[in-house]
Amino acid sequence: MSKVYQDKAPTNDAKSSVLTSSLEENEAVFKNLFHSCSDVVFRSFQIGGQKNALLFYIDGLIDEKQLDESLLKPLMLSSSPEQLDAGQDLLTFLQNQFISVSQVKRASNISSIVLDVLKSSIVILIADQTEGLILNVPGGKTRSVEQTSSETTIRGPRDSFTESIRTNTSLIRRRIRSARLKIETLTVGELTQTDVAIAYIEDIANEAVIQEVRSRIRNIKIDGVLESGYIEQFIEERSFSPFPQYLVTERPDYVVSALLEGRVAILTDGSPFIISGPMTFWGFLQAGEDYYDRVLFANLIRFIRLVLTMVALFLPSIYVALTTFHQQMIPTKLLLSVSAAREGVPFPALVEALLMESTFEGLREAGVRLPKQVGQAVSIVGGLVVGQAAVQAGIVSAPMVIVVSLTGIASFAIPRYNFSFAFRILRFPMILLAGMFGLYGITAGFLCLLIHLSGLKSLGVPYLFPTAPVNFQGLKDSIFRAPLWTMHFRPQLDGKRSTRIPKGQEP
């Protein structure tokens, strides 16, 4: 089946073939391979005025300044002809004395040479040699490390990942100065040949989990990988669960904290978003500030976040249930004002709620991809027209607008963006259930959600860990957070216990 993705003719023929000793033949092979590739540069020259040589690379992927300075110049101007005749040792000699590039290797297999050229290397072929020199001189333009735009913070490091996998690994390595941090690289994508790296800390991450991730990534057969989302969708356990099973972040401190807790991070070249797992329900409700800020405040914001998450899921449905079925639960005065507001509204609360929620989701979706200048217009239209005018026109009631806006605000309080999708999706079936069966419907919906979450796993770890199955050490960092110096152990995701913060450090 993988044949579909493969190139036709030349590459396939060249797959197993090797270089010959004739420079002209080799040159013809590569020129044939790269025909109609205007970005490939071939340059013939002579080493020390004697040996014919050919150099080729892809323009824009390499550092041309370094090429000129540390390659062409010393090779062309070298003046030690007697040594150049030394036969097979010529390559070693050149490597040792003339090529001042740190990453050099030899290759004779044509397909591997082609791959290296495509991955920003320079290849030098020399007459009468059956091996070529491959010099890794990456260059060209990439985005520099900038402040994160999707996950801002008040306290905490500001840098964020970029599209280049090397920059990203360096950002992690800079924070974990230990040889136990391992970064394994695999290649995914028949055409894109994307580097995908698995990072973990040896002896902390569960070996079985690493093995599973490795084999799942190896099994991916695809023509191209454009974003880490491609990898995520191939290696997640349940595609049809509304809940994400991997953390997606562009902040290095989040990835490092995940690694330190024994999780595995997966870096994809070309994407600033790094995925990390196994993740749990509570993990998605945590933010970096929970650990950076002092413990009391951290607990307050964590609690608020949990409440708001529940609000985002249940508020519209509870409003519908109360106004439709259980009016006795609303305090009398409030009930009077609510019913006065709803008097002129032609729709039942259920339709009203669905209408407003859909409008809100529509507004949000419309605003996401708009240019900044137009974004203002959407907020004006959304805020004034939909809110104010709809109420005045008697299409929806004012309490409904309040409920929907509260829900909207609450859903923004969920710290992980991909986690908030779950609640945005689930809100609608909840409203429907509430409209049909009132509080009983909401309870039934909650139970369904609970069963689903109880059965869900992320890389073998139960999603509701450490609350269900209960783990008393883990509870120190779930709904609430204990002071740092009491969290002696790492999350026991695989049942093993390893010390993280030794005892007896109370200030």
């Binding site: 069966f437 509080l439 009983y440 309870t443 369904c448 109880s454 770890v461 509701l464 269900a468 199955p469």
Partner: protein
């Protein structure tokens, strides 16, 4: 990939939680043991002791044969055919209990919450959710129970605190106005209805990872639920007085008395919600245990294929068991204790004696 824990193994904590939710959540909203007068709390105390005895018998039995359910124990002790008969009996017991749970649930929901919704719709939703949970296996059921326990405990504490202004200790007197007979009647109900029904857990105890400590787990769960029951009886009698014994849903009625600052009042739907959680747990355990017992009786490895047929039959049974709610309550008051006695006490006791006898011979 395999889970971090072993599959199909639950910890003793999880068993404890499941039993606790199984017993407390549903029984707190039903007229369990509320016989004449003001003495139902005495019934609760005696009933709890009775429940502990029942628990002790089957816990001893399970401890003697770790990793074996009651069906397998009976097969080992009394031979294949007697074992199969026992298995069939427990299937029926779990099945019938499930039907009663569903029936109670439907009755209460139609009465207090959704009077105009057809009862069958309510039952269908409930049985589907339970069947789904039972299908997912014992681990998932236990995890649900862990989360649901939070709500049960929170609700109990909240209501106890909020009802304090309405409690009148004078309501507890006179003691033993109606005599010991009605007290023992109530005690028999409490021992057999919420507490003794845990005998179904003889199908689930084999999943526990530390079988040696099962007795402690079972007894402490029954004891703790008993304490919860006693407290709830105290509260309801102190709030409602003699009315408590005349209510169909005493806890529900007394929660109507809650009123905080004219704002936080009429919150009985919260009682209802927590009660749904309890009924869900109970129904799921009944369905799971019945399916498992049936699977072990016929020697099938996969209990899951029996869940849907059993669930459908259970739904059907719950609808034509009794003509109305009062009939159900009368049945549960007067006949159910006698009907369940053989399952809760007789069969486990006989099996326990057999095992002791056999051990003596060996």
């Amino acid at each position: 990939m395999k889970s971090s824990g072993q599959n199909n193994v639950i910890s003793n904590t999880e068993l404890w939680t499941l039993m606790f939710v199984f017993m407390t959540a549903s029984s707190m909203s039903l007229p369990v043991g509320y016989t004449k007068g003001h003495d139902s709390w005495i019934s609760a105390v005696i009933g709890t002791l009775g429940g502990l005895c029942i628990g002790w018998v089957y816990a001893m039995l399970c401890r003697a044969y770790p990793q074996k359910s009651v069906v397998q124990i009976a097969q080992t002790l009394l031979g294949a055919w007697t074992g199969k008969a026992v298995g069939l009996l427990y299937t029926c017991y779990g099945f019938q209990l499930g039907a009663y749970v569903l029936r109670n649930f439907e009755d209460l929901t139609s009465t207090v919450l959704l009077p105009r919704t057809p009862g069958v719709v309510i039952s269908v939703i409930m049985i589907s959710i339970s069947a789904w949970a039972a299908y997912q296996g014992i681990e998932v059921i236990c995890r649900c129970a862990l989360i649901l326990m939070l709500f049960v405990v929170l609700q109990s504490i909240l209501f106890t605190v909020l009802l304090m202004p309405d409690m009148m200790p004078g309501n507890l007197f006179p003691v033993l106005e109606a005599g010991w007979r009605s007290v023992f009647d109530g005690a028999a109900q409490i021992a057999t209805f919420p507490l003794g029904e845990t005998v179904l857990f003889v199908m689930i105890i084999p999943f526990v990872n530390r079988a040696a400590r099962v007795k402690k787990t079972v007894l402490s769960a029954i004891g703790m639920s008993g304490v919860f029951l006693i407290v709830s009886h105290f509260i309801n009698i102190m709030v409602l007085g003699e009315l408590a014994s005349k209510q169909i849903l005493p806890a529900y009625t007394s929660s109507m008395y809650i009123s905080v600052g004219d704002f936080f009042e009429r919150i009985e739907p919260i009682v209802f919600t927590v009660w749904v959680f309890g009924e869900f747990t109970k129904l799921t355990v009944c369905l799971f245990a019945a399916s498992l017992a049936l699977a072990q009786t016929v020697g099938s490895r996969n209990y899951r294929i029996y869940i849907v047929p059993l669930g459908l039959a259970l739904l059907e049974l719950s609808m034509f068991l009794h003509p109305n709610q009062l009939d159900v309550i009368a049945f549960q008051k007067h006949i159910w204790p006698w009907l369940s006695a053989p399952f809760q006490l007789l069969i486990p006791l006989v099996l326990l004696l057999c095992s002791l006898f056999r051990r003596r011979i060996d």
